[in-house]
């Protein structure tokens, strides 16, 4: 009796032992995982004094363009004073950003790599002897200087944004936001920029600018219509009189144009507001809501830099007056050029969205790769058939619709224009274009917005053409 009691308590002791060992293993696993995966994020935190530790030890690394051009570097004067130089001045203001007064752009994104040094031990010792800092690691971006220049020049004095990406990988080739600034003078102009509350110079319009999508949103409406009528959408017919009226609400076509008899394809190509309002009113609102979710409206985007979420919610309770506005991209809908570019990329890439990224690799000063960033699939946003159908519609826009300025070239482009009215009193509109080329096997994807310029077909499409021409070597 006594013996069995003792054995019993041994079992309890062993249970407690295993319990604690299990808890400790969990804790150790958690700690290692947390420390390793959050390292960068934690070092970049402004409350972490270790940043200064690294900057005191290492000279900030250089940022390169994809072609090897220097976008940012630190020059050390004879007195040891460091200055950050941006050889291209304003050109990469938002993309590369700045490294003082807080950090921005790639300077913030890859700060961890730039302030670390993976120089060889022997070289570090040599630097120690010479009383110099260690060379920080260099960051190689995906940015293309030529495309960036064309995009920036084309925008000219207009406010707006241009984003160029490679849909098959998610590489960001160009990212232009205007108005811009000279990061070389950031310390001098900082106070003025901050004090001027009206100024949006520091805002990267590509990732953070929220605009009404205008007719470019018809891509989304069209997708929803195709989803609801996969076999019959071709049989859609509508008679456009230049105006769509539903109860007290009415929608008119751009500049009151009368499109006459049209099918689904022509409605999209001509960007007929009346026809799309008509389509919108017949859509299943709950399913429309799901499609919006699929396309990442109101959701987090899979990018590592700062951005704003696009916003539009549609559900069963959305009233008719709102749905006809939403279907043509007016009303309360807001989208960033980045997000529209991602949707376009997914269409170009057969429905699969690749995560957009700016940094290709990190190398130490001798050129040995420290970290390589590979293209990453985010997820499928639509089926291959849906992507092909939208691609075909977007080709029609170029062939016979609002984007004919891109037709008849040695490459076939596809896209959608938009003229988003942002002011309910005046008829001013933002000019949009989002598209890709070559249409059969897309290599690049371009999204453009020019604030207050007018129609997308007249103002944004020519910029897309210049970018495509540059890329395909016309």
């Amino acid at each position: 009796m006594k013996k069995s009691g003792r054995k019993k308590s041994n079992r309890q002791i062993l249970t407690v032992t295993y319990l604690f060992v299990a808890v400790f293993l969990a804790m150790m696993g958690y700690t290692c995982h947390y420390a390793v995966t959050h390292r960068q994020e934690l070092i970049n935190n402004s409350y972490n004094g270790r940043q200064e530790l690294f900057t005191a030890q290492n000279t900030r690394g250089t940022i390169y363009a994809a072609g090897g051009q220097i976008l940012a570097r630190t020059q050390v004067g004879e007195d040891g004073k460091e200055t950050r130089e941006y050889p291209y001045g304003n050109l990469f203001a938002h993309a590369v950003g700045y490294a003082s007064n807080g950090k921005y752009g790639i300077e913030a994104l890859s700060n961890y790599y730039l302030i670390n040094s993976n120089a060889k031990l022997a070289d570090k010792v040599a630097n120690d002897m010479a009383g110099e800092k260690y060379p920080g690691d260099n960051v190689f971006t995906t940015l293309d200087v030529d495309l960036q220049e064309i995009a920036s020049q084309s925008l000219g004095i207009y406010k707006g944004a241009v984003m160029v990406t490679e849909p098959s990988t998610g590489k960001i080739l160009a990212m232009v936001s205007k108005p811009d600034f000279d990061p070389n003078q950031i310390d001098d102009i900082w106070d003025d920029l901050i004090q001027d509350e009206e100024s949006t110079v520091l805002l990267n319009r590509v990732t953070q600018g929220l605009y009404p999508p205008g007719s470019t949103f018809k891509i989304v409406t069209a997708l929803e219509y195709i989803r609801e009528n996969p076999d019959t959408y071709d049989q859609y017919r509508y008679q456009c009189s230049g105006r769509f009226t539903h109860g007290e609400d009415s929608i008119s076509c751009y500049h009151g144009t009368v499109h006459g008899s049209e099918d689904f394809r022509k409605s999209f190509a001509k960007s007929c507001n009346s026809s799309f309002a008509n389509i919108g009113i017949g859509l299943d609102r709950a399913r429309f809501g799901d499609t919006l979710k699929d396309l990442l409206f109101n959701e987090k985007l899979p990018v590592s830099f700062a951005y704003n979420k696009s916003s539009l919610t549609i559900d069963e309770d959305t009233p008719d007056s709102d749905i006809i506005q939403a279907a043509i991209g007016q009303g309360t809908t807001q989208i960033t050029p980045l997000h529209l570019n991602m949707i376009t990329c997914a269409i170009a890439n057969g429905g699969v969205l690749m995560k957009p990224y700016l940094v290709d690799c990190v190398k130490n000063y001798e050129g040995n790769v420290i970290r390589q960033f590979n293209p990453g699939t985010y997820r499928r946003l639509m089926t291959e058939e849906e992507a092909a159908a939208l691609n075909s519609l977007m080709q029609e826009v170029v062939k016979s619709g609002t984007g004919t300025k891109l037709s008849g070239l040695f490459y076939t482009a596809a896209g959608k224009t938009g003229s988003a009215e942002y002011n309910s009193i005046k008829t001013d509109s933002h000019a949009w274009f989002t598209g890709f080329a070559p249409a059969q096997d897309p290599e690049i994807c371009v999204t453009i917005i020019i604030e207050g310029a007018g129609s997308g077909g007249d103002y944004a499409v020519p910029i897309a053409k210049r970018i495509f021409d540059q890329y395909f070597g016309a």
């Binding site: 308590s9 959050h38 004094g49 031990l121």
Partner: protein
């Protein structure tokens, strides 16, 4: 030159401690202390290598002679402890002593790096404690009346922490210490041992329901006094030790479940009614949301842990001082930052090795009283490690307890030393039990005819 030493030593230090840790567990392959002596020998060498390499870096980085001096003194202390213990108690357990010295030397290194003055103070306290501690195993197995002091333990413990509640000085919101003649004590540390003795003596003979209720009431008084002193970490330790000891003493799973349920209920109530509990839970759930105040310590600790990588930044190459109270509550984070995550994980594994050895001893002790003591002290020890490491790494909310042997704090290190030496005493008791048994067996073998009667006995030995 310094750079070569710092950079290369990182890898050597990690290698040494990893090998040491490996030996900590390889030891358990053997049942017999004699066969383990190879492991113990290697452990001793590796420990001195870790201690040496760390101080080599410290000396090069600071260029100060006083570090060399304290290194030599520490070396003598550690060496003497290992050798003398073996001489005085040939039947003692060397794993416990080795791990104790290893953890102490990690503590010496990291305190030396954080504050020379505190390292010296700690060294003196450790020296005195070890001298006293050396006597403990002898007394433990001589003083048979220890079993019968049940109510005296209860009274002494309650009075000790009660006095602090009434007269103690408040430091950062908690009343946990009081000073006599310039020396500051933190009685809740010592009371941990008294508490375990109280429960063991109350429960070893009988564990009928009335007795459980009585001990529950007394244990409740302990916990409430500590909660009132705002020493939540200690309160939690006492509570868990109570539940675990009742569970083992009664062998009744119901008590474990009741205890856990009660604990959860109490936690919910504490969260409802105490703002300082809410603040800590908030700081745990999202420390970055309150990085300016409540989350400051924990975020700084996370920064430290993550900045070192697997092999650490190297001693004196990081900024662990940015964590408030780093040398007491967050010493683990300082280790992770400068000596590396790998090193800090080894440190935890060494603590686990101690705990497994304690449980091993507990299981093998025939005497219920001693068995409960070994168990209770083991749980006290490992749960405290869990609270401090888990708190510093955001695994659980922060409670502010010390990492035994490593953190700065006289009461803490002294208490842990006493605990370890008590376990040594219990181990010696168990060895003697075993020896008696073998003798009896032999006697029986001689008189009896070789039969199957021994079968049961043998199984039990295993």
């Amino acid at each position: 030159m310094e750079l070569y030493i710092t950079e290369l030593s990182k890898y050597f230090i990690t290698l040494f401690i990893a090998l040491y840790t490996l030996e900590c567990f390889l030891v358990f392959r053997f049942q017999d202390e004699e066969k383990r002596s190879g492991c113990y020998m290697r452990q001793n060498i590796l420990m001195f290598l870790v201690h040496f390499s760390c101080f080599l870096v410290i000396c090069f980085e600071t260029g100060k002679v006083e570090y060399l001096l304290i290194y030599v003194l520490q070396l003598i202390l550690l060496f003497a402890t290992i050798v003398l213990f073996r001489m005085i108690y040939p039947r003692g357990n060397r794993l416990i002593i080795n791990n104790m010295c290893m953890l102490l030397s990690i503590g010496f290194v990291i305190l030396g790096r954080l504050s020379f003055e505190k390292a010296v103070k700690q060294f003196l306290i450790v020296t005195v404690s070890i001298i006293i501690g050396m006597l403990i195993p002898y007394f433990i197995h001589r003083l048979k009346f220890l079993k019968s002091l049940t109510w005296i333990y209860a009274a002494v413990g309650i009075v000790a922490i009660g006095i602090v509640l009434i007269l103690g000085s408040t430091t950062y919101g908690s009343k946990i210490s009081y000073s006599i003649a310039g020396v500051t004590f933190q009685p809740s540390e010592f009371v941990k041992i008294i508490f375990v003795f109280f429960l063991a003596s109350a429960l070893y003979e009988s564990h009928d329901f009335m007795r459980i209720v009585l001990t529950a009431v007394l244990a409740g008084i302990y916990v409430l006094i500590l909660v009132a002193s705002r020493d939540l970490g200690s309160a939690l330790i006492f509570f868990v030790v109570y539940v675990m000891m009742v569970f083992v003493a009664t062998g009744n799973w119901l008590y474990l479940f009741l205890g856990s349920a009660g604990g959860c209920g109490a936690a919910v109530l504490a969260y409802r009614f105490f703002t300082h509990v809410q603040v800590r839970v908030q700081a745990w759930r999202d420390p970055f949301a309150c990085i300016d105040d409540a989350g400051y310590q924990i975020t700084q600790s996370l920064f430290a842990i993550s900045s070192g990588g697997w092999f650490g930044l190297g001693l004196f190459r990081g900024t662990p001082d940015s964590i408030p109270f780093v040398e007491a509550d967050f010493v683990f984070s300082a280790i992770a930052e400068e000596l590396g995550i790998a090193f800090s994980m080894c440190t935890i594994l060494i603590c686990i090795s101690c705990f497994i050895m304690f449980m091993n001893i507990s299981v093998r002790l025939k005497d219920r009283f001693y068995q409960l003591i070994a168990f209770g002290l083991g749980v006290t020890y490992i749960f405290q490690v869990f609270l401090t490491v888990g708190g510093g790494t955001k695994f659980i909310p922060m409670t502010g307890v010390t990492l035994p042997f490593i953190s700065y704090g006289g009461s803490s290190v002294m208490t842990t030393l006493v605990m370890f030496f008590i376990i040594e005493g219990l181990y010696i008791i168990r060895q003697e039990e075993g020896a008696k048994r073998v003798k009896k067996k032999k006697k029986r073998r001689r008189t009896e005819y070789e039969g199957s009667g021994d079968e049961e006995e043998r199984q039990e030995e295993e």
